[in-house]
């Protein structure tokens, strides 16, 4: 008796978003990256198209990441003192698909770096690597609003993925994207309705931006509420496939940022003998967090540890193998 394979027929598909721009397209990237476009749930090639594999962006900061655990710092060595060298290492040695440049130093409580300082760093990183860039501010709204415009302008045409637009604060990021041809991360607090509402607000500013939005559903680390993010993502993707245009964007998750502040990544084994070796545990924590989110439909993973990146990229390669019946 032959088994009748159950294939779902969805009405729609995830939007395809292009990141970066080559010389012909008005930027300086050596190649662009496409995310999204799938017409089925994660990696179910037997019933739909998954035209673009999920990608991994590695994080680079404008300042030395003092707060990172030692084993994470050791994985990069001296490169952490120089954003350009750091980015180059991520791409050339560790195979990062994109670089996520985080302007931590712009934080008024850290270094209060100016827009000009940030732009100078951005330029050296753009020069050092050919992959598309994601740009994050420092996380303080007022400061980020002040620097995002000048940063967008300085990199006009590069099609950066600019973070982050939120429901109460989306105009400065969306305007920078609109005026200088970039894409936007639309972040909502583990809430599918706000995710949708925010996309509507951004598209009301500019309809063409609809094809340049990436949803950040807000993810939590393994052991810290990841199941909420997982279910919100599954619901959002299900909505997208069933024709909800305002949920049909690719999704991005700040995995490294969430994971590496949790005690499972830094408590040494002599303090928690039951938890095993800290160095191995910490990168496993990041990798398993990413693996789980991939199964809920994550398209862009922003990560930190090179070995975790390697494991996750290999898992993606394996999952991209055709499994048609």
């Amino acid at each position: 008796m032959a088994v009748e394979i159950l294939k779902e027929k969805y009405r729609s598909q995830v939007r395809e978003v292009v990141l970066g721009a080559t010389k012909d397209e008005g930027g300086t990237r050596s190649a662009t990256i496409k995310v999204g476009g799938e017409s089925t749930l994660p990696f179910l090639h037997f019933e739909g198209e998954v035209p673009n594999p999920p990608v991994v962006a590695m994080e680079v900061w404008d300042i030395f990441p003092e707060e990172w655990p030692q084993n994470l710092k050791d994985a990069f060595g001296d490169a952490l003192n120089d954003p350009a060298a750091w980015a180059k290492k991520c791409v050339e040695e560790f195979g990062a698909d994109l670089i996520a440049l985080r302007f931590k130093g712009a934080d008024p409580d850290v270094k209060d770096a100016s827009a000009e300082d940030c732009i100078a760093v951005l330029k050296t990183v753009l020069e050092a690597v050919g992959v598309p860039l994601i740009v994050y501010g420092c996380g303080k709204l007022e400061k980020d609003n002040a620097i995002i415009g000048p940063i967008g302008e300085a990199a006009e045409g590069e099609n950066l993925l600019l973070g982050v637009a939120e429901q109460e604060n989306y105009k400065s990021v969306a305007s920078a994207a609109m005026a200088y041809k970039h894409s936007v991360i639309a972040q909502s607090p583990i809430d599918i309705n706000i995710a949708k509402q925010l996309n509507i607000l951004i598209s009301e500013m500019s309809t063409p931006l609809l094809d340049r939005i990436v949803i950040d559903p807000t993810i939590a680390a393994l052991g810290y509420g990841i199941e909420y993010s997982y279910s919100i993502m599954e619901r959002a993707r299900f909505g997208a496939l069933n024709g909800d245009r305002m949920l049909g964007m690719p999704m991005i998750g700040n995995v490294g940022h969430e994971v590496w502040s949790k005690k499972e990544t830094f408590i040494p084994v002599d303090e928690e003998p039951g938890w095993g070796d800290q160095a191995e545990r910490s990168l496993a924590w990041e990798a398993v967090t990413a693996i789980a989110l991939l199964q809920a439909g994550m398209n862009i993973l922003v990560m930190r540890h090179p070995q975790a990146v390697k494991l996750v990229k290999q898992n993606i390669d394996e999952l991209m193998q055709d499994n048609s019946y």
Binding site: V3, G223, Y224, S231, S261, W275, A284
Partner: protein, 442 residues
């Protein structure tokens, strides 16, 4: 996923005799559909109708047990594809592979020692899978003896050689191990073995079609305590097969796939092994057999399982009480929040990033967030004051100052009266804690 009331009604005698305790056959049918009545109550139902209704009313995935006594592990009995629809019932059994060629004393000692405690929950490895890697029946039996003597864990016996299985099963039958596996060549004898010892039997196909055929043959032999393996070992293919097995069972009530499933990792590298296990655990495997026995690998896997199998309709909670962040001492600041896990973790994350050793007092609000708990009278001056007392906070710190969430600033006065502590109103959102702490406590 059962039949609707109307579908059941068609099978009933429609006599409205009231013998069943319901006024009409239709009312009885509705009660049956909701699982509130049993068909036995109907005196006139025909045998055919009984059979039709019984098979339709059976759960889409049968519950199968492995193990004996208080170590029984229940598998299957799932009704959902997505956890946001309804809770997944039975967490994946995490199983570590050992070979009959390993130094078993040493390996079992390591595995026995694999217990973890994290956020008040304890985990340990559920089963070991003993593989007949030697290909020798005598060696497999001797290994089963060692397992019997050296660990109390549940066992999967892995051999497709019926003679080897018979020997090992004789040793371990009382543990009710999972017999792995019946294949197209050995299924008659394997079924007989499993049946005679009343042990669950894994069925191994070469693909989904051959798996379904084999299941039907074994069911025809009168055995239904089964666990499914499509035989695939490549990550992508296993994901597809596990998805089809779950979907066909739940959505189509395809009987041949209405059993729990088992997945084996296929990597030699322990980290890669962990990645595969993570995929299979996420997508429907009732048992995952992996090779790594390192704490640092298994802890994240257990944590993911703990998260995935929570009830999405119940807010996740943390242990209420006093939590020390860093080397908190008698001078450390005290923050107060609820025991809703997301609130707590947000505050915990921000407080630990202040790098100032602190205490967080998590008040039992039954897992509701600050504003909900406030509205519901669970986060009040009284409940916070009571938590200060019951946790012995007054002996832990020598100051009397507590920080409350800015969202409930209104509690300041009443809490000061109630507790005799000075109350500082903190930021409205956890993200403001770093700045707040810098100004107040640095």
């Amino acid at each position: 996923m059962g039949l609707s009331g109307l579908e059941i009604f068609k099978q009933l005698p429609k006599t409205n005799c009231k013998e069943c305790g319901y006024p009409t056959c239709l009312a009885f049918a509705m009660a049956l559909a909701n699982g509130k009545a049993s068909l036995d109550a109907c005196p006139d139902v025909t045998e055919e109708a009984k059979e039709a209704l019984a098979s339709a009313a059976a759960p889409p995935i049968k519950m199968v047990k492995v193990g004996a006594g208080d170590r029984v592990i229940e598998m299957g009995d799932e009704t959902e594809i997505f956890r946001h629809d309804k809770r997944f019932n039975h967490p994946t059994a995490v199983t570590v592979e050992v070979k009959d060629t390993d130094d078993l004393d040493a390996r079992l000692a390591v595995i026995n020692d694999l217990t973890f405690e994290r956020v008040g929950q304890e985990y340990s490895v559920d089963m070991i899978a003993l593989v007949n890697a030697s290909g020798d029946a005598g060696k497999f039996k001797a290994a089963a003896e060692t397992v019997k003597g050296k660990t109390e864990k549940n066992v999967v016996l892995v051999s497709e050689d019926t003679a080897a299985m018979e020997g090992a099963l004789d040793v371990l039958a009382e543990r009710k191990p999972l017999v792995y596996a019946a294949n197209k060549d050995n299924f008659e004898k394997m079924t007989e073995l499993a049946k005679s010892k009343e042990c669950p039997l894994a069925v191994k196909g070469e693909d989904l079609n051959s798996l379904a055929e084999l299941v039907d043959k074994i069911v025809a032999l009168g055995y239904k305590e089964l666990v499914l393996d499509s035989g695939s070992r490549e990550t992508s293919k296993v994901l597809a097969d596990l998805t089809q097995i779950r979907r066909l069972a739940v959505r189509k009530k395809f009987r041949a796939f209405g059993y729990p499933s088992i997945a084996f990792t296929s990597k030699d590298d322990p980290q890669e092994d962990l990645m595969q296990a993570g995929v299979y655990l996420s997508k429907y495997a009732s048992i995952v057999v992996l090779k790594t026995d390192k704490k640092e690998h298994l802890l994240p896997l257990f944590s993911w399982r703990a998260n995935l199998f929570t009830d999405p309709q119940k807010p996740a909670q943390v242990q209420p009480g006093l939590h020390a962040i860093g080397d908190a001492d008698e001078n450390s600041p005290v923050y107060c929040t609820t025991n809703f896990s997301l609130s707590f973790y947000l505050v915990e994350g921000e407080v630990s990033s202040t790098r100032i050793p602190s205490y967080i007092l998590s008040v039992d609000t039954n897992g509701t967030s600050v504003l909900t708990a406030y509205a519901d009278n669970r986060y009040t001056a009284e409940s916070i004051a009571a938590a200060i007392k019951s946790t012995g906070l007054e002996d832990k710190v020598k100051h009397k100052n507590i920080v409350i969430p800015g969202l409930v600033a209104v509690l300041k006065g009443s809490l000061e009266d109630e507790s005799g502590w000075d109350v500082t109103v903190g930021p409205r959102e956890a993200s403001g804690i770093t700045k707040f702490a810098k100004e107040k406590f640095a």
